[in-house]
Every structure is written in structure tokens, then in C-alpha cells.
């Protein structure tokens, strides 16, 4: 674990509010983004972020430092989200707003091209349609940039399981994109008979 984070945790455990606020400063945006993407709306994401950090402060004493602080934090956020979903009247399903619509594109990076952005949005929609197991892995590993090992710790499963779910998710996403990708390019994708030329 990063020495600075370790030090902040230690100080927060000794009731140093400044240290706790520094930890907040470092992590709150990531946790909010994680929950916002998962729970599908801004208001619930705020509530869940609040609940997550409330649990963090109240159980900081049990954090022994065996795992990274961020992994522990994500695990709490993940469990908070799961509890929230169980308590929802519409049961296991959720209907997310497109979170990417709220994002200001200051540094589009590899998605600078409009077609790329469109494809990326289709991909985000497809991620929302994945099974829960696959979805959580995609959110943590790709959106939150956690390593496979960290993702496995957050979800409390083996790293092999994470790899398997990632491969499965990528397969589904690939199929979804590939099919969509063919739509505009009719000439290229139209199957022709053996021996014929286009």
C-alpha cells in the first residue's frame, strides 16, 4: 500500500479528522463515479457514496491493512450497492440512465472521433445489459482501473474467476459490437455466393 495512504489510515484510526478528509479527497470522486455508473442515477449515487463512507469511518478500526485501503473501500462500496439493490421494490433489475451523457468531454483521448464515441456509447449500453457478475468485473477492472487481483478481492472471488468473467463479457460485447458494426456497411458485409464477385 502507498506509504502516504497507509499513514493517512493510521492517523484516521487515531481520530485525526484531517487525515480522514484527505482520504475523502483522494477517493470520493472514484467511489461516486463507480456507484453512479452502477446504480443508474445521480441522487442514489450520492446517497450510496454517503453510506459507503459512513461505513468506512465506523469500521475503520477493523481495517487491518492486509489489503489495500482502496480495495477495502471498493468492497464496502460494492456491498453497499448490493444491499441497496436488494432493498429496491423492482428487485434484481435496475434501469440505468446513460451516465455517459453527464460527462463533459474535456479530454476525449482515443474517443476523439464521433464514430468512436458512438461506438463507445453502444458499448457502455451493452455493458449495462451484461449479467451482474460480468458487469461488476467490467466496472471494477475497466471503468475503475482496478487490477485483476484487486477486482478479485473486492468481489471476493478467485482471480481465475475474474479472468473467466472478463473473457465471457468481452465475448458478449464483441458479438454485440460486431453485429452493430455491420449495419451501415452493407456492401462489405453482404455475403456473396461462392465464385461470385461484388
Amino acid at each position: 500500500m502507498d506509504r502516504r495512504i497507509k499513514d493517512l489510515c493510521k492517523r484516521a484510526k487515531s481520530a485525526d479528522k484531517n487525515a480522514a478528509c484527505e482520504l475523502l479527497e483522494i477517493y470520493h470522486a472514484d467511489i461516486f463515479a463507480y456507484l453512479r455508473r452502477l446504480c443508474g442515477n445521480r441522487q442514489d449515487a450520492e446517497d450510496l457514496t454517503q453510506q459507503t463512507f459512513f461505513k468506512v469511518w465506523s469500521s475503520l478500526g477493523s481495517f487491518t491493512g492486509r489489503s489495500e485501503f482502496s480495495t477495502w473501500l471498493y468492497r464496502i462500496a460494492h456491498n453497499t450497492y448490493i444491499d441497496w439493490r436488494r432493498g429496491r421494490p423492482d428487485g434484481a433489475r435496475n434501469y440505468p440512465d446513460p451516465w455517459w451523457g453527464e460527462c463533459v468531454d474535456t479530454d476525449p483521448g482515443p474517443l476523439a472521433d464521433a464514430a468512436d464515441r458512438q461506438m463507445a456509447q453502444r458499448l457502455y449500453e451493452a455493458v449495462d445489459q451484461l449479467d451482474d457478475d460480468q458487469k461488476h468485473v467490467v466496472h471494477l477492472h475497466y471503468y475503475q482501473q482496478l487490477s485483476i487481483r484487486q477486482t478479485a478481492r473486492v468481489l471476493n472471488v478467485a482471480t481465475s474467476t475474474i479472468k473467466y468473467r472478463l473473457r465471457e463479457a468481452l465475448g458478449i460485447l464483441r458479438t454485440t459490437l460486431r453485429v452493430g458494426e455491420h449495419e451501415p456497411d452493407v456492401a462489405r458485409a453482404t455475403p456473396v455466393a461462392k465464385g461470385e464477385t461484388t
Binding site: L24, A29, F32, E102, A189, P191
Partner: protein, 644 residues
């Protein structure tokens, strides 16, 4: 950059939803900390209980514990590490086209070969170190278990009679033993069962036999005397212990799994009944001291599948089962070779239903294939061509028809049909749009031709039959339904529900399969198979009196066994079982390639194409499988009280 890398790049570059203004302030206010007492480390507390001096007594006690407990434990840890270092993939085996990772393949006793049946009805054996693949026999029954003799000199397999599209493929003709060296076969049984295990002396076979009620009874057959012992009316996975003195199998009673341990001579029988979940596929360890099984238990919000082990000593179970490998939900275990390798397959199958626009005048593809839905199984077009109905098992296990828009795949409604428990391949929507006819099984194990009211989901058993029929098709006037069963073609009058056979094969290897009404309604077309191949589609009048040839292809590799007739009767579309979809004119013209779907993935195959009612599109299923075959070294501790 390949597709996966692009997807990963897009996901990695996903924008971050900004945290709302004021959230940080709110969170700051919530920070309520209480001091957590600084604690000395556990070791320090142990060795320095007073906080001042090291306790020599405690140091001595720690040394004693280290010698007596920790060193033996570390030996176990070494075993554990070694276990994971000796898991290895069988890349040569992974390349073979085994069907759907079915659990019927088997590793040879010495672990050097892997035998299984392919989708081309061949028995193949693969060298596990070089990947070299050798065909040992043809015309075998794919997807059925193969079993090695204890000395590895022979392989027992089911020879095939019939085609898997008929009667779900369960028509084996005999159980054969093939000599691995000479390639010669001998008949083990004429009326074969589904083989699971073969005793070390070669005299006994364990397996499952399907009863008329559709239950797989666990049976043991003496190959010399032909004496058959029923171990359980509804059982699974019977296996001999390595010394063939004992056997194990599983039964299910009142949602509970019972693991049985019997002496082969019938003198003792014990049961383990306390496992809090389901027991599947028990396998004996090579030294006969453990039974290892896949245990499934319900967790808080999901099922957990782990590999468990239970000690066996003689005719007793010892102690309680212990989990040995967690999270095996993606693994299917085959068998344990005598040299200690546990073979398994891991991977997945994906697929879906696609549509392809077709020029109704030429029969050629008019655009790219489009995915309607992921998964999906049996489907049929509505008579107006606007909807496609799928049969699906819902999460709770109940069956339902899902109606999707044929133009965009959007789900229009779901019709729960709890009464029906299974649907066989090939269902059909009535011309007036009111009913869907399907062959299948309903509650109370009723089988036959069912009519489902599209509006309400009411179920009517039109014609009760011993086995579920397949490939149902309505006549254009809606008065008759044709279906396939027992290698023949039948029609049933919708008013009186009385079935009548109109085409019955005469030769032993002949099959009439997949009937489709021709547009005039006077006759029924069907595939004529000789062996696994089909080069002709015939049509017989519904009075059964006259038969004519509708289509013939010269190249028998263009297998027409799964076909659909266009609404104008001028063409048939067929899927030989690879990535290509073919179309053949019924006027004797040359068949042509309608579509090649290899762009959808490396291991895709198309199947069961169906014309839309207007002939301007076809629907077809796409399957894709990615499997890897692995072996694991025997990870169980060696015990002296072996069962060998």
C-alpha cells in the same frame, strides 16, 4: 488492433461521471471518528505478555508448536503449491471439435490419450502431449460417453443408428469395444445403455438406461451373463472403485442428493445423505480412497459450485466431505486417469438467433445477418412475418414463449407456459396466427403434439405420443400438422388429433426427417437421410400414396438434413453444420452459397434456417463454442488404507 483490444481501449477510456458540487462538503461533515486503541502486534503480546520481558516459557511453547503442528502443515502447503503448478492445458485436445464440451470424453488410464466423439460422428483419440489426432471409428454416436478399459487397450463407445435431429439423437444401436492397437471392434452389448464405467476385469459395465418415463436408471450389466442389476430407478453417474469391489452413484430424493456406496456383489450398501446441496458426478480417486464430487450450494445471492471430497475406507464413508477446489462452476470433469490426472473442460458456448434478408426472387442474401437475440433456442415465424416466437426457460425454470419483433429484435411480450417442461426442435405458428404447435413434454410427463394459444398461453395436448415429436409444421389451410418421429413422417388432423404415418423408412440406416408442408398443402417434404448424410429432399402426399423427389444435390457433403422450404416452394435453404448457409433451387439448378457467417467469430456454425412467410428473410441459429481442455495432478493426500 483486434476487436477485443478496441473494446478494452473504449472501456478503459470511459469518461468519469463528475461528483456533484457539495458532495465533498457533505461527506466531510459525516466524518465521525473514534480513536482506535493502538494495539501491540499479536506476536509481541504473546511473547511479551507483561509488556516488559520476553517470556521464556512462551518461547519454548512456540518452538514445540512449530515442530508439532506447523511443519506438518507446511508439508500440506507444499502439496498445494505443487498442485497448482501441475495443472496443465491440453492444447491439442482443445483444437478438436468436440460437441459443446460434453462430458462424455475420457482420458486414457495412462493419461497419454484423450478419446471422444466429434460432431462428424467420429470416434477420435488425441495424443495429449503432441496434439496428434487420430480417427478410430466412424458412425459413432456423438456426445455420448466413451469409456476406456482399465488397461487402456480398448475403448467402449456407442455406435450410431439414426440422426441426432431425430428423437433427440437417442438411438444408439450397439455398445462396441474398439481395440486401440488393431482398430478391430467387438460387440459388448446389442441393447446398449449409456456407458459410464467399465470394470477393471472387463466383465461389468455401469451406465444409465432411459426408461419409458424418460428417467435415466443407473444399471450394472454383466457382459458375460447379460444379467442387469438396476441400482436406482433414477440415478446418475455410477462409477466403479478402481479395484471394482465397490461402486458409487447418486440419487435425488426430495431435493436432496444421496451418495451411495455399494459393494459390487451386493452385500453392503451405505448412503451419505447429509450434504447440504446437490451432488454431481462423483469420481473415485485413482487410489480408491476418496470420492470427489461437484457440490452445488445456494449462497446468499448465487449458487456456488465447488469440488468436494469424501474419504472412503472399504465399504464406509469416513468423516465429512471437505471442499478441495472452489469455484468450479465453469468446469466439467471427465475422468481420473490411473496416473493421477483429473481431466476437465472449461469454457463457454455463446450463440443466438439471427435473421438474414433475402431477395425473394433470386433466393440470394440481400444484406448482412443481424442478431435478434442472444441465446434462444426453438423459434418460429408468425404468419404475417412480423414476429418470431422463441421457446426459453425462464430463471425459475419455467418455460415461456418470448415474442420478438422480426425487424429489430425488440421483445414484444413474454408468455409464460408453466405447463410445458420441454420443447423438442422445430415448432410452428398456425396460419391463422392463433396457435403455436410444438412437440415436447408437459407436467405429469405427458408427451406429444401440443397446441399453445398465443393470446392466453392455454395448453392443449392434441396428440399424446410415447415420445416427443420433432419438426412440427402446419398445412397452409391450418387443418393438419405434420411432424417427424421414429425416423418417419406423420400427419395429425387438428380436429380429431389422430396421427397417421405417411412416410416410413424401409432400410436400416434410412431416416425421414424434418417434415415441411409444401405450399400446395397436398404433400409434405422431408429430408431423406442415409447414414449421416442427406443428398435428397422428398415429398409424400398426405394420403401417403405418392412420393416424389423435390431436390437433389450431387455433392453429399452439402448435407441437406436440416432444411427449410421457401414459401413459394422454389428453393430450399439448408445448414450443413458449419459457418455456411446454402440454398438449392428445387428445379434442379446448382446449389449456391447464401451466406457465410465466419465473420461472426472463429468457431461459429449456423443451424436450423427457417424462411419467413414472405420468403424475404431467413432466421437461423448461430452457435459458438470456446473450450479448453486441462488436466490436474492428483491433489489428494495419499492414504495407506487404499481401496485398490
Amino acid at each position: 488492433m483486434n476487436m477485443n483490444e478496441r473494446i478494452e481501449q473504449y472501456l478503459g477510456a470511459a469518461p468519469k461521471p463528475p461528483s456533484p458540487v457539495g458532495l465533498m462538503d457533505m461527506l466531510r461533515k459525516d466524518v465521525i471518528l473514534r480513536e482506535v486503541g493502538t494495539q501491540r502486534s499479536a506476536l509481541r503480546r504473546f511473547f511479551v505478555p507483561s509488556g516488559e520481558r520476553v517470556s521464556l516459557w512462551r518461547v519454548a511453547a512456540a518452538a514445540a508448536i512449530t515442530i508439532a503442528v506447523l511443519l506438518p502443515l507446511s508439508y500440506g502447503a507444499t502439496k498445494l503449491i505443487r498442485r497448482f503448478s501441475t495443472i496443465s492445458q491440453l492444447p491439442g485436445v482443445s483444437k478438436a471439435k468436440f460437441p459443446w464440451g460434453y462430458d462424455g470424453a475420457a482420458l486414457s488410464p495412462d493419461g497419454k490419450h484423450f478419446a471422444g466423439t466429434t460432431m462428424s460422428f467420429e470416434l477420435v483419440v488425441i495424443d495429449t502431449s503432441t496434439g496428434e489426432q487420430r480417427k478410430l471409428a466412424e458412425n459413432c454416436f456423438w456426445g455420448t460417453p466413451v469409456v476406456w478399459s482399465a488397461d487402456g487397450s480398448e475403448i467402449a463407445y456407442l455406435s450410431r443408428r439414426g440422426d441426432w435431429h431425430t428423437d433427440m439423437g437417442r438411438q444408439p444401436s450397439s455398445l462396441l469395444a474398439l481395440s486401440f492397437k488393431s482398430g478391430k471392434t467387438r460387440i459388448l452389448m446389442q441393447d446398449p445403455l449409456w456407458p459410464e464405467d467399465w470394470s477393471s476385469d472387463g466383465k461389468l459395465i455401469l451406465g444409465e438406461r432411459m426408461s419409458k418415463e424418460g428417467l435415466g436408471a443407473a444399471v450394472m450389466v454383466n457382459l458375460e451373463t447379460k444379467e442387469e442389476t438396476v441400482l436406482a430407478k433414477e440415478g446418475a453417474s455410477p462409477r466403479f472403485s478402481p479395484n471394482t469391489r465397490y461402486l458409487s452413484h447418486v440419487t435425488k430424493e426430495a431435493n436432496r442428493s444421496i451418495l451411495h456406496l455399494r459393494r459390487v456383489d451386493g452385500t453392503s450398501h451405505v448412503q451419505y445423505t447429509d450434504f447440504p446441496g446437490t451432488i454431481d458426478k462423483p469420481l473415485w480417486s485413482p487410489d480408491g480412497t476418496y470420492v470427489v464430487f461437484v457440490g452445488t450450494q445456494m449462497g446468499i445471492d448465487r449458487r456456488h459450485k465447488d469440488l468436494w471430497t469424501l474419504r472412503v475406507e472399504g465399504d464406509r464413508f469416513i468423516g465429512l466431505p471437505l471442499p478441495v477446489i472452489p469455484n468450479v462452476e465453469q468446469m466439467q470433469f471427465f475422468n481420473w486417469s490411473q496416473n493421477g490426472q483429473l481431466a476437465y473442460v472449461t469454457g463457454f458456448q455463446l450463440g443466438g438467433v439471427y435473421t438474414l434478408p433475402v431477395d425473394a426472387r433470386t433466393g440470394k442474401a440481400g444484406g448482412p445477418p443481424r442478431q435478434l437475440m442472444l441465446g434462444g433456442n426453438q423459434c418460429c415465424w408468425s404468419p404475417d412475418g412480423k414476429q418470431i416466437a422463441f421457446w426459453q426457460k425462464q430463471e425459475g425454470g419455467e418455460g415461456a414463449f418470448v415474442f420478438v419483433s422480426a425487424s429489430n429484435g425488440e421483445t414484444m411480450r413474454t408468455l409464460s407456459v408453466a405447463e410445458i417442461t420441454g420443447v423438442s426442435p422445430g415448432m410452428s405458428w398456425s396460419p391463422d396466427g392463433r396457435l403455436i404447435a410444438c412437440g415436447g413434454t408437459a407436467k405429469q410427463k405427458r408427451r406429444g403434439v401440443f397446441l399453445i394459444t398465443v393470446e392466453t398461453g392455454d395448453v392443449r395436448l392434441l396428440a399424446p405420443l410415447e415420445k416427443a415429436p420433432n419438426s412440427l409444421t402446419w398445412s397452409p389451410d391450418g387443418k393438419t400438422i405434420a411432424y417427424g418421429q421414429n425416423n418417419g413422417v406423420y400427419v395429425v388432423n387438428v380436429e380429431d388429433g389422430k396421427p397417421r404415418q405417411i412416410a416410413s423408412p424401409t432400410e436400416k440406416e434410412e431416416i425421414f426427417n424434418r417434415p415441411v408442408f409444401v405450399p400446395d398443402g397436398g404433400s409434405v417434404a422431408y429430408a431423406h437421410l442415409k447414414g449421416p448424410d442427406c443428398d435428397a429432399v422428398l415429398a409424400t402426399t398426405i394420403d401417403g400414396k405418392t412420393t416424389r423427389e423435390v431436390c437433389h444435390v450431387k455433392d453429399t457433403k452439402l448435407n441437406m438434413r436440416v432444411f427449410s422450404l421457401s414459401p413459394d416452394g422454389r428453393r430450399i435453404v439448408f445448414t450443413p453444420g458449419d459457418e455456411k448457409i446454402w440454398c438449392a433451387p428445387t428445379d434442379g439448378g446448382e446449389p449456391f452459397l447464401m451466406a457465410d457467417i465466419s465473420e461472426l467469430g472463429e468457431t461459429v456454425f449456423a443451424w436450423a434456417a427457417e424462411w419467413s412467410p414472405k420468403g424475404d428473410a431467413i432466421s437461423f441459429g448461430v452457435g459458438r463454442q470456446e473450450y479448453q481442455y486441462w488436466v490436474m495432478e492428483n491433489f489428494l493426500p495419499v492414504t495407506e488404507a487404499g481401496g485398490r
